[in-house]
Symmetry: C2
Subunit: 513 residues, 2 copies
């Protein structure tokens, strides 16, 4: 029997314990949609909050929230109506449709760097030349065509009012730039972030949470003076190392990344804008915080023909996953003034900013550096990297900020007043704002195991001693060690623990065994 | 000059200070979409988090997150494809389209209770009879037709794969009921909530944040045993009073609500299900927490022909707003087993639950009681009710849990090392996880005024005394009183204050003036 890979193990656990699963199973499933269950939706929110604490608040980045459905004009201006397309090919026999480039990748071993370069005609020629047929029925393929991968709809009762599902949250920021800049009250440079659902009408998505038609995007648009791309915070990260596969080496077929410090990457002009290098260093640190070691991360530069239409330099941050190899986890694009210029042109509204200088001042269209993440992938990545086994048991070693359930509360036995006492502790912790799971079924060992499997860092057990002296045991998920503490001290201790002011051994008196 | 009403004042402030504004202004605007700016997006999130703390965590309700675009089958089963429609009428001259019922309400003074009852033909007859013409060009109207108010799209490359934008988050829960029930591990009854964007393709939305095409919905589906609708938590709320306009009185034309306790409402069978009464009482308490006094709230029962197709009893919770009068803020529907039964029928998948009983057990389709809120309206309502003036200055008296900015940090003057010292305090508070605003421009009075206008409860000022003894002043937004405390004690003091363990006067030594 083939042993299960991590994706299979995580997916099975994610389904059973309520992290996530493919949506609409009762209707046979629809590719590219997942549902986050009770634990997954908390984990996802915690990852987004960690991102806020890591990226947004310390940098004073402003967060906004706008709509998923946007009027056609926005994406005509942004270039998406013209460029957001994928090559599609139909089987003449069974009428199934496929991504032309994916066929060449899957059945002719071409890389995406190679397929990205091909025109529609060339894609068709390659498919013919390499004798690729419909993988479902063996039929011949027809002509390759462009398929627009935005979801299309109509806004209101007039059929000409086309609307699109946004493929990125970025445009919600660009079109509202003037108002947001107003509330930034003259601060410059400044960043704006939006975390929200986005839609890409993929042709035949697979890969579970990795390739979705609806997903949550985290787009930071950082607005800069094009004449001053310096980042005053660079000092904080300049000695961080980055593994880079630069375009030049990629073209030479070199697959190994070079490892350089942020400072070196800028000195050698591997990365054009200081702010972009800064955000890449932060992105690496953020993934380390999510549990991905440095040697499982790299950045790969996009070649000219691989880049999005708005980008003059782009790096993908990639993380190594057991099943799929290197997978994109964030994109770092230098978008210049492309988007604001286009919206100015299409709307006729001036979006220049004014900057005072010694002699008078200067008006300019800000440039934009964009780090962009997907929450759904981050959830999966955090789970795959947290997955451990200990004595044949599964243990999710999520950091204490990420664990969906913070504390499990367990009455040792279901009699003699222990459940009642435990319920008091449970209610108190809920009132204190903790996410708490109540579990009284089965042996205490099984309950610990269930809690370990979903990464609950602390287990509070109410036993006979509790009734005598008002103390409980607290168990550590990773070491399985236990301490004893007073119930009335739990709130302060746990707040301090989850705010990382103290560690497990500070929670009480260690129980020797 | 006509004095501004609160809606105008709040909207102007919301735009200027970055709470919210109509989206896509640079393209002339598109009705029914708003953007939450930097302060609004935090306020909205805080309201949603307060809801979680109030409704979700104490009741052990499970939260999920699913997609906004859903396959057609879901809404065929749910009945939305057949029922989610509004009557529309086109001007024969200018081709503009209008809601037929809204025309009768606006130009013939009919109530929505009256118009809801009319068939398409009757609507048309009334429009003719009352001689209503196009309000834009005076033209005659054509035939009244049904307009489906779900956004329609196509999922993937096959044109027959219709998808809809979800008009409620509830269906994302119903179609995944089996999986969610699995992760509830036998708990019953139990609730599931989803907070997320929803879409309704309104014909001509006005009223700013009150009627939107895209909005955030909070749907709780509480699953019950139809043979046991009792709510064990009823004791907690049974003496709360509710103002009810019951269907019977509404039919008699009585417009004044009756005021009864929850217990009475159930005894007199005004409300059918105990859980529904419980959730209505919580909804009232929640709105009180958001700042809406009891006498500005009421519940109005839906008549048979006003109810959604899935509901056997429905109440709207209404809040009084200065411009629009009574506005729906939450809906409380007893959906029975309608949705789960329909999905069973359409998918062929069994969704019954098993309940052990003394003699064997019983399998049944759960019944559902649904409280449903809209976040966007809650944001507006919280702002309108927080709006105060004091000595001709605007002051937003948002509760400390809701205020977007928790602490303002102000160097008294921009010299002598005060900004540097203030920056240290600012950074420390950011690291502690607080939402902090830095402001050093203009007089300290103006900075306090700017902070009061957006509801920042505390202002920390760094002055010359700070450099001497490491103390700062903390100012209270509502009373403008000040206390002095040590910088190193700020983190603990502020955590305690925002967790409501202490009040303003406990933050330090009162400064007498």
């Amino acid at each position: 029997m083939k042993s299960k890979d991590k994706f299979e193990i995580i997916s099975e656990m994610a389904k059973r314990r309520g992290f996530f699963w493919p949506s609409y199973e009762i209707y046979g499933g629809v590719g590219g949609f997942i549902t986050f269950g009770p634990l997954g939706s908390i984990l996802k929110r915690r990852i987004e909050d960690k991102f806020r604490n890591f990226y947004i608040r310390p940098l004073g980045i402003l967060e906004i929230e706008s709509s998923v459905i946007m009027p056609g004009k926005v994406f005509e201006a942004s270039g998406h109506v013209d460029h957001f397309k994928e090559p599609i090919v139909e089987c003449l026999k069974c009428k199934r449709k496929f991504r032309a480039d994916h066929l060449l990748q899957e059945f002719a071993g071409m890389s995406d760097t190679e397929t990205e370069k091909l025109t529609l005609q060339e894609l068709m020629n390659e498919i013919k030349k390499r004798n690729i047929h419909c993988p479902e029925c063996g039929g011949d393929f027809g002509k390759t065509e462009q398929f627009m991968t935005m979801f299309t709809t109509t806004i209101g009762p007039y059929s000409e009012a086309t609307g699109y599902g946004r493929p990125e949250a970025a445009q919600g920021i660009f079109v509202e730039f003037k108002r947001i800049y107003e509330s930034a009250r003259g601060r410059f440079p400044f960043g704006v972030v939006q975390i929200g659902h986005a839609l890409r009408n993929e042709i035949s998505p697979r890969q579970g949470p990795i390739r979705l038609r609806e997903f949550t995007i985290i787009d930071i648009e950082f607005f800069l003076d094009p004449e001053d791309l310096r980042c005053p915070l660079l000092k904080e990260v300049e000695n961080d190392t980055l593994k880079l596969i630069i375009a030049e080496n990629k073209l030479k077929g070199i697959k190994e990344p070079i490892e350089v410090t942020v400072k070196q990457a800028l000195n050698k002009a591997y990365i054009k804008a200081e702010w972009q290098a800064f955000f890449m260093a932060l992105a690496k640190r953020f993934l380390v915080e999510l549990g991905v070691p440095e040697d499982k991360q790299r950045f790969i530069e996009k070649l000219e023909w691989e880049r999005a239409h708005y980008s003059v330099q782009g790096f993908d941050q990639e993380v190594y996953l057991e099943r799929w190899g290197w997978v994109e986890v964030s994109g770092h694009n230098y978008r210049t003034d492309y988007d604001l210029s286009r919206h100015m042109q299409f709307s006729g509204v001036d979006m220049k900013v004014f900057k005072e200088a010694e002699k008078g001042g200067r008006r300019f269209i800000p440039h934009v550096v964009e780090p962009s993440f997907g929450s759904d992938r981050l959830v999966y990545i955090a789970l795959e990297y947290a997955y451990k086994t200990k004595k044949n048991r599964t243990l999710l070693s999520l950091s204490r900020e990420l664990a969906p359930i913070q504390v499990g509360v367990f009455p040792l036995v279901s009699k003699d007043g222990l459940p009642e006492k435990a319920k008091e502790v449970y209610q108190m912790l809920i009132r204190e704002g903790f996410t708490v799971e109540w579990d009284e079924s089965g042996s205490i060992g099984r309950r610990y195991a269930r809690a370990d499997e979903v990464g609950t860092p602390l287990g509070v057990t109410i036993d006979y001693q509790t009734l005598e002296n008002g103390t409980v045991t607290i168990r550590d998920r990773d070491t399985w060690r236990q301490v004893r503490s007073k119930i009335e001290e739990l709130p302060e201790l746990l707040h301090a623990y989850f705010r990382r002011k103290i560690d497990f051994e500070d929670l009480g008196q260690l129980i020797k065994r």
